[in-house]
């Protein structure tokens, strides 16, 4: 027995030593700041729902990455809280009379966090990289013919056609950030990106956290915090517990069903703000009978968006029959549908459709689509449509979407600013996201015109017409605009939840 015991102990010790050895060999062991550096600000810990896939702003498409990168990088221009484009790295810009040449003047004395200067060459390098390597956001540069840097402070963008939403394309989010050539070429950008934003990445521990420290070379007002640590907490109950216990001071991963009571309760600050995201149901128009507009309209009349919103979002959303939310300058008030099963049945009758079985594809990646699908199925049953719900993981879901293997699916679009982003790729017959195969020559023409229309009033009118037609044709059946829901400790001041979900900690302070 004693022999056995000592052997076992020996084996265990050996394994523990291996573990410890692995630990010290691992990188990214960084002592948490906590004000030790002498600044008054302290370190804010933020719990986000998942881990960034990588920190190269031009290559990632994950929102978790952009939550971090929002605080690390700058863009030429950036959206303010009303999503109007405002100066950032560029202080001013001029447009030529033919609208084909935009000249940007860069801010004086901007440096990257490593102290090297940021010049027009870096802007040119960044934009050329996105276009030349066909990276995720290359589509935003569709009308850009060339980018030139005639002197260190000037960037000239030449276009092939007038592009009234150029500012939103070049600065809408950090996916078009200005990067440093040396940082990209060394490959360090994936875990240790160098930007010119208010904070700089100091350590990235895979699976655990990304640590940021204040960038003392930042061109704007010096951030009050010493640093920000992002931890990855997938479970909302656990994230809330961390916030309550004081382990974290900010999270956007709260259990939705508890949000109403958290907003009333005293010890936390919980804000809900309408977002510019929208969620929709769409039917595959390449398949019968969904090619018939009457069938699509019948589905729209059969739905009760209020009930769907309640099930999917616990009321943390605003129903909307168009894409663009109320409060946006581009909002168009139009709501022709109401929950009317009789009307739906009549339309189905006109289309000669009986006993229809519809496959509805949803994804566990976005649980709200799974909950909404139950309600949608119940509502469509009332008008004689049998819904078979297919719940897939996102990888497979995207695969099926791309191949057109679906009758119907529900999903959302996040972070759009300009109406072109809301409509063109989704509803133009040649649009890259037009998976539902909608085709309406009148809409195509309006979308092409509005894209280059520089008169704001005329542009708004064109998009209003697009919105009306898309809703009437039920290319998308729009459901709701969700709220941005974020919560933080009462010690946090200066934070504001934004409609585009950009997480900015540059003006935040943390009380002791």
């Amino acid at each position: 027995m004693s022999n056995f015991g000592s052997r076992l102990a020996g084996a265990t010790l050996a394994v523990v030593l291996v573990a410890a050895g692995g630990c010290s060999a691992g990188k990214g062991v960084d002592v948490d700041g906590g004000g030790a550096t002498g600044g008054a600000g302290g370190v804010l810990t933020a719990a986000i729902g998942g881990e960034p896939d990588q920190l190269d702003p031009h290559k990632t498409s994950a929102y978790y990455s952009f939550q971090v990168l929002e605080n690390v990088y700058d863009t030429l221009v950036e959206p303010d809280e009303n999503l109007e484009m405002k100066p950032a790295l560029a202080t001013e810009w001029k447009t030529s009379d033919d609208q084909l040449t935009w000249t940007f003047t860069l801010r004086e004395g901007v440096k990257f966090s490593d102290g090297s200067p940021l010049t027009s060459q870096d802007v040119k390098y960044s934009f050329d990289r996105i276009v030349g390597e066909k990276l995720n956001n290359a589509y935003r540069f569709a009308s850009v013919k060339s980018v030139a840097a005639p002197d260190p402070k000037t960037v000239v963008v030449t276009l092939s056609a007038p592009t009234p939403n150029l500012l939103a394309n070049l600065g809408g989010f950090k996916g078009v950030a200005i990067v440093q050539k040396a940082n990209i070429e060394s490959g360090a950008v994936k875990t240790k990106p160098v930007g010119s934003g208010p904070f700089a990445v100091s350590a990235y521990t895979s699976g655990d956290s990304v640590k940021l420290v204040r960038n003392d070379n930042y061109w704007g007002d010096k951030p009050k915090l010493d640093g920000v640590t992002f931890t990855f907490v997938k479970d909302p109950t656990v994230a809330l517990q961390n916030l309550r216990g004081g382990e974290v001071q900010w999270t956007d991963n709260l259990p939705p069903q508890q949000v109403p009571s958290l907003k009333d309760g005293g010890d936390l600050e919980v804000q809900t703000t309408p977002s510019s995201d929208y969620w929709y149901l769409t039917l595959n128009q390449a398949r019968k009978p969904y090619s018939d507009v009457n069938v699509r309209r019948a589905v729209a009349f059969a739905l009760d968006p209020a009930a769907i919103t309640k099930a999917a979002k616990f009321g943390l959303a605003t129903t909307n029959q168009t894409a663009i939310p109320k409060g946006s300058a581009w909002y168009y008030e139009y709501a022709p549908y109401r929950h009317d099963p009789a009307q739906a049945k009549q339309l189905l009758g006109q289309a000669g459709v009986t006993g229809l079985t519809m496959e509805l594809m949803v994804t566990s990646e976005y649980p709200e689509t799974v909950s909404a699908a139950q309600v949608i199925a119940a509502q469509l049953k009332e008008v004689g449509i049998t819904v078979r719900i297919r719940t897939l993981d996102f990888a497979q879901w995207l695969d099926e979407q791309g191949k057109g293997n679906f009758d119907a699916f529900m999903l959302g679009w996040l972070g759009n600013i300009d109406p072109d982003e809301f409509y063109y790729a989704q509803h133009h017959s040649g649009g890259t996201f037009n998976f539902q195969k909608y085709r309406n020559p009148a809409v195509d023409k309006l979308l092409d015109q509005a894209r280059t229309e520089t008169d704001q009033a005329a542009r708004k009118q064109a998009y209003d017409q697009v919105a009306k037609q898309v809703v009437d044709d039920a290319s998308y059946i729009y459901l709701y605009n969700p709220d941005v829901v974020q919560g933080w400790s009462k010690k946090v001041t200066g934070y504001q939840a934004r409609t585009d979900r950009a997480i900015r900690f540059r003006d935040v302070a943390l009380a002791k």
Partner: protein, 314 residues
């Protein structure tokens, strides 16, 4: 003995090669396109093709597999499709967290199950025996994520004794590590303890009725001596196998618990890699788990010989 180990190691290498092939082929069958996931919903055919060729996914399958195995032989498990980091680094970085969690969990499990199982068997039919059986029934039937959440709500929320989630490296701050590891390790440990308790109880019961035990009792040895010297040692042989298998599967990462407690281990890595269809990382993680299983099995075989002189390794 050394010849035995050498032969086993060679066999293990062949098994690992087989594992790479099976995993590679299985991944081809899994629906879902890694390029589509990486690009998200914003899909543009040109961007898609560019990324696909950068990741080498447009090469013929055989070429992909052969270059993978070739590199793997030199310790290079490729580059993560999502993060661009070397897979070997990523996987090894996650190993300490998983090792420390798995070992703590098994320690907790053994500390509970060994006395409980032995006492339940020795006092067969007593109130304690019934209590042990209720405990193990509870442990195996309650899902671990539920137990984990209840633990968090109680010990982190109501009592405020332990942090709800997160990880501190043992080498950085042993006390911090201990406070973070306790809840997830206890969650896993209770489930494992339930399995072990049943096993130890039945194993001890079996040995209790064996001839040599009756002989020992007939010699007039005291009950405690009989149990410790004559029963336990014999009863432990199958138990060691079960403990080793449990440990090996824990070393593969406890996906649900690691995700719940934001524990940066192999399980969470595997989960994220599956979601993203990050084939190189998934292959690397599976390979590591397979290797750990082989090592555990080898250790068990060696341990058998120590426990029972009748077993000889050849």
């Amino acid at each position: 003995m050394s010849r035995f180990i050498l032969r086993r190691l060679l066999q293990s290498a062949v098994v690992l090669l087989g594992v790479t092939l099976v995993v590679f082929l299985l991944l081809q069958l899994v629906p879902g396109d890694p390029v589509r996931v990486a690009l998200g919903t914003r899909f543009d055919p040109q961007t898609y093709e560019a990324l696909r060729s950068r990741a080498g996914l447009d090469r013929p399958l055989l070429t992909q597999y052969l270059s993978y195995v070739g590199n793997a032989l030199t310790g290079d498990l490729g580059v993560s499709f999502r993060s661009g980091q070397p897979v070997t680094t990523i996987v090894l970085e996650r190993l300490p967290a998983t090792l420390s969690l798995a070992l703590t969990a098994v320690l907790i499990a053994v500390l509970i199950a060994l006395p409980l199982g032995v006492l339940a068997a020795v006092r067969n039919g007593s109130a304690l025996d019934h209590a042990a059986r209720v405990f193990s029934q509870f442990g195996v039937s309650v899902p671990d994520f539920w137990m984990g959440i209840m633990g968090i709500l109680l010990f982190a929320g109501v009592l405020g004794w332990l942090p709800p989630s997160g990880y501190v490296a043992l080498t950085d701050d042993p006390a911090g590590w201990l406070s973070h590891v306790l809840l997830p390790a206890a969650t896993i440990g209770l489930v494992t303890a339930s399995i072990l308790t049943r096993f130890i109880r039945s194993s001890v019961l079996e040995v209790l009725s064996a001839d040599h035990v009756r002989t020992a009792e007939a010699k007039g040895l005291r009950g405690r001596v009989v149990v410790l010297r004559h029963v336990l040692r014999n009863a432990l042989i199958p138990v060691v196998t079960v403990v080793a298998v449990q440990l090996a599967s824990l070393l593969g990462g406890v996906i649900v618990v690691e995700v719940l407690f934001a524990w940066p281990g192999i399980g969470r890595l595997t989960y994220d890699a599956v979601q993203a269809r990050d084939y190189p990382v998934l292959q690397g993680a599976v390979l590591l788990v397979a290797a750990l299983f082989l090592v555990m099995n080898l250790l068990v075989d060696i341990l058998y010989a120590r426990l029972d002189p009748r077993i000889r390794v050849r």
